[in-house]
Symmetry: C2
Subunit: 181 residues, 2 copies
């Protein structure tokens, strides 16, 4: 389990630079349109990742260590980025995400979590009992779910341009898999 | 359409550094396992991207310009990386991909394609008539389909570790969408 924690940290520490390399200064034709209706754009997803850094992962980790199962986590606001990203550029959001992620990982390292800590339980408002270990693995998996989403949103923008090839491109068969907090 | 070409180039030029930032020196627990049975690992996918740079995209672009619809493209070998990546490290593959992509984009720029060129047609062995414009858009979309796949393969590796959260993570509901060349 300690090993898994290091694996999660390895991934968590790379996501901001991977998104930066992929998205910074990319034409807005890739990053501003969504997949139709009230779906998210790439810009919205980066805002959502920022909101998670501010309010979700380390906040919940500290709640588990402090309150255990006696106090349920706050529900995650999946629409906060619609307010919080207003007036910002994607470059600003990428900087903000990188900065918050680095701070959070520094705080995580300072906790020097041992195996016993990782097995401590908290209470998720919908899922019930969850362990700190599960929370930290989910933090990493949440990066992956949004990288998966970002590649799908971007592929949607060139759906027409690829012509008949769309049926060979797996990402264009992916209907999205809506998720909660 | 010229505009779409620039959009495709913007993305194509960023993929190698995005994959490098995400994957270089990441623990092999993320990059070597696959999704079961004969599915691909992250390592396999990077090998597949390399094979595309060597044999697919620019080769097909030149065929369209030279032969039009009179000569069908070679079928893409989707298993070539199983031979070609043998004995290499992921770091070597990332270097190779970055180098080949940069060379190919340089060759693409040197073609100075105009609107008339982009509308030229070639012949895909399964899809029939396709335009150069569609081929180049597919090159970019193919990066996205494999970024989508990489995030899904990696998420598969922490499926157990996230415990009950798996049902909230869209990437873990994605069954994969097998694709051809």
């Amino acid at each position: 389990m300690q090993h898994n924690l290091q694996d999660s940290i390895s991934l968590l520490s790379r996501t901001p630079s991977a998104l930066d390399a992929l998205l910074r200064d990319l034409p807005e034709t890739w990053t501003l349109p969504n997949e139709g209706e009230s779906s998210w754009s790439v810009f919205d997803v980066v805002g959502h990742l920022i909101h998670g850094e501010r309010t979700d992962w380390m906040t919940r980790a500290r709640m588990i260590l402090e309150f255990g199962e006696t106090k349920a986590f706050e529900r995650f606001d999946r629409f906060a980025q619609m307010r919080e990203s207003q007036g910002k550029s994607l470059g600003q959001l990428l900087d903000e995400f990188a900065c918050l992620r680095a701070e959070n990982l520094e705080q995580l390292r300072r906790l020097s979590l041992g195996e016993e800590d990782l097995q401590k339980r908290g209470r998720h408002p919908a899922l019930g009992a969850v362990t700190l270990s599960e929370l930290l693995a989910t933090w990493a998996a949440h990066d992956l779910t949004h990288l998966h989403q970002i590649s799908r949103i971007m592929a949607h923008q060139c759906r027409e341009a690829v012509g008949p090839w769309s049926k060979f491109l797996g990402v264009m068969q992916c209907g999205g898999h809506s998720a909660q907090a």
